[in-house]
Amino acid sequence: MQETLIQIEPKPPRGDWRDPHVEFRKGSMCYSAAPKNLTYLGLPNPRVWQPTDSDWKLPPDWKKTILAGMKERLDKFRSFRLFMDVCVRCGACADKCHFYLGTADPKNMPVARAELIRSVYRRYFTLSGRIFGSLAGGRELTEDVIKEWYYYFYQCTQCRRCSVFCPYGIDTAEITLLGRELLTLIGCNINWVMEPVANCYRTGNHLGIQPHGFKDSIDFAADEASEITGLKIEMPINRKGAEILFVMPSADYFATPHYYTLLGYMMLFHEIGLDYTVSAYASEGGNFGSFASHELMKRLNAKIYDEAKRLGVKWILGGECGHMWRVLHQYMDTMNGPADFLEVPVSPVTGTVFENARSTRMVHICEFTADLIHHGKLRLDRGRNDHWNVTYHDSCNPARGMGLLEEPRYILNHVARRFHEMPENTIREQTFCCGSGAGLGTDENLEIRLRGGFPRANAVKYVKEKYGVNLLTCICAIDKATLPTLLEYWVPGVEVGGVHELVGNALVMTGEKERTTDLRGEALATESVLASGESEARHA
């Protein structure tokens, strides 16, 4: 006899994908931007509203604004028109998105997400769409479509994994950025992007920490680094005439586990006697503007070159940050350059000329440190990291946004004895996103983040079970902020740390006192975990 007690239809409605209706549910959406933040940035339609409201209080001419905004961008960005026209819907990208893999929602296939905007493009900007409408794949622009855009463009972390597989090189991150840019024109933003942007614009960093607070944090960390090593370690702030300006994500000086990476930087720079400074004005590498519009991205990014000019440095060194590097690698030079007032970066320790940074004049800390190690300029005791069994998560933007694949691994293999790669199709250019980038890493959106981060966590679980991995290293502040929660849910027992945290642990400094703890204050392993003392590194 069939069960009759539970009358639940197991199959969800198989509706037409063109139906734009979406259900906003707490836990799987981001709250709207507070009006004060839009007002501060001079952005349109500041108001109190939430995505769960039926009336989004759109401006009366919202449709005209969106279509005019699309036209302007189609004319301005050749890439946008190309991405709208060239997709043949082959589906190569379809199963590459971590959100699709984690949610199984077909509209999270990158091709389908792009189709949300492409269908409007067809309807209003192509002859066939204007004449044949839905028969030519066009869709009317309605308020429901705006809500659908908001829902799905804020379910994309702009990680660009799909782009790796697109035979035409369509960059879905660009499409998402343009979709968000259009939504910005009518005031449909999320607060976790706009508040940090407003704060960055005002004080230089995303939490709105003022210069005296910045100095307190840096001094506190310097004191701690001094205490650990027995040396007098300092980090100069706003020092004119320094050779190098060092820019890091603000989380490095106010959040954990980022903070341990900051201690690592300080110790490294002290040991090699680097002539450098940090800045209270350019005190944020992360660019939350890049999550909302090209214009906001440019406004925030400009601070780095402005400050380099004001302080009179020769070149810029950048810390373990994600989005900073995509903006830097792909936009900074043409957006706010040329940086002809700077010099081509040369390592003061090894004399290496960083040819790759000839144009932007900005070098990644992993390139810099790997070069130091390659030239034998650092004394490293890998045994000090024996309590860690390490794997490496390629943070999306440094990996796919600028091709930084080898340097972090080179460093890790020189500072730790136990290092294991996750499976091949989850690392390097195929790395899975943390699921919280591009402004989605906020607590109210936790369920979406847990879904999006599932493919990454699944690979971490594999190396934990197979090799006993207990530390996931990465070089992105958002990773460090959000992966601990993700792993606590999916893979308890694996912690998150930075590459330079392990450098700080292993670095044997001139005149230092004997180390009994690591940078976290945890006792070092008393006996080697490896009988032979040899490196244990394998690929999964």
């Binding site: 198989r14 949610t103 704060n199 709105g208 003022q210 307190d216």
Partner: protein
């Protein structure tokens, strides 16, 4: 195909049907566990659960397999009843295959459903605890740095 295998296949298929139609071919067809974590977790966990329900009822293996599947469904677009409903799908799978559900298995399925409910509640409670923890951290950073918003 053995009877057990055939029943598991039907069970997996019924559970897959709870996902959107456009996603089914991928969830069903892609065998790589890292490219298809949802499909892989479902298949692996349901296979273990079926084996234990029809076999030794090893509590630890059941808890692990149940946790893997519930942990996933607790954050996907399912209400509580839909999230744990897959347990009862086993009965339907057996009947579809043409068999009758033995009394001993009936009670085991009921017991599994209760366990599934415990796991589901555990996951949801953990999600709320994780969220509170993130909020607490955020507040602490803001307070310690005297961060102000514009």
């Amino acid at each position: 195909m053995s009877a057990d295998r055939a029943i598991v296949e039907r069970w997996v298929e019924r559970v897959l049907q709870s996902y959107p139609a456009q996603t089914l071919p991928f969830l069903r067809g892609e065998q790589d566990p890292f490219r298809n974590p949802v499909g892989h977790t479902l298949r692996e966990s349901l296979t273990i659960l079926a084996g234990e329900l029809m076999g030794k009822m090893d509590r630890q293996r059941i808890a692990q397999a149940l946790d893997a599947i519930i942990r996933m469904r607790a954050v996907q677009d399912f209400g509580p009843s839909d999230a744990v409903r897959f347990v009862f799908d086993l009965r339907t799978a057996i009947r579809e295959w043409g068999g009758a559900v033995p009394d001993s298995l009936e009670s085991r399925i009921d017991e599994l459903a209760l366990l599934a409910f415990d796991h589901y509640m555990g996951c949801r409670e953990q999600i709320f605890a994780l969220r509170i923890n993130e909020l607490r951290l955020k507040a602490r950073y803001a307070a310690s740095e005297e961060g102000e918003t514009p």
